[in-house]
Subunit: 126 residues, 2 copies
């Protein structure tokens, strides 16, 4: 019997998210979040719920972002939630726009891992 | 019998942290973190461990920060860890230097709640 670990489950959703951004599909990116998911982005008020999160990522895509690359560095499991730490790289075509780190609190919703609280900041200038 | 809720436990440590900053005691601020605690600050590489975290907060104090005010907006409990979302306000004397939001992943260590993963970003310009 195969077992899917939490880290695998999170990796799958991150992969789905990255592919969604690459094909400019903000709705598919937003579908990776929980129903009451929250994006806590720099220079922004908290963005709550899938519809608002779709609009948020659509703004990124319209601004020229072609890739958001995520690399998980840690997953801590705790029942129905998990904490992930990772690094991100935001690209516009072949140009780096930003790089930094993030924390995502994941939540199981209808048997699937969803991004529940998503926050990041830049490492530029470090 | 009195029960201390997780939210109370977190509020107590946040209060301890805020008082430590106010009296310019970076070691006491760092003691609020887990032994392998991590501060993920903007424009900075990850800061890992109490000694490095003490140096980090000492840098804030030396730069003129007199208060870091924390307001919890959400706590999600999950066994030995908890996720907190909140708002911060950084002051230099009576002047606001920055305001924004944060996520802290808390961990129980020797029966006490400790900041384990701490990340924030500014809401300035939002």
């Amino acid at each position: 019997m195969e077992t899917i670990t939490i880290a695998d489950g999170i990796a799958q959703v991150n992969s789905t998210f990255m592919k969604a951004i690459r094909r400019k599909d903000a709705a598919a990116a937003a579908a990776c979040y929980s129903a009451d998911g929250m994006v806590l982005a720099p220079q922004s008020e908290p963005v709550v719920g899938r519809k608002a999160i779709e609009t948020f990522w659509n703004g990124f895509i319209k601004a020229g972002v072609t890739e958001v690359n995520l690399t998980t560095t840690e997953v801590i499991e705790a029942g129905n939630i998990a904490s992930e730490v990772g690094r991100y790289l935001v690209m516009a075509s072949r140009k780096e726009l930003d790089h930094g780190k993030y924390v995502v609190v994941w939540k199981i919703e209808s048997g699937e891992w969803k991004l529940h609280r998503d926050i990041w900041n830049t490492s530029a200038g470090a």
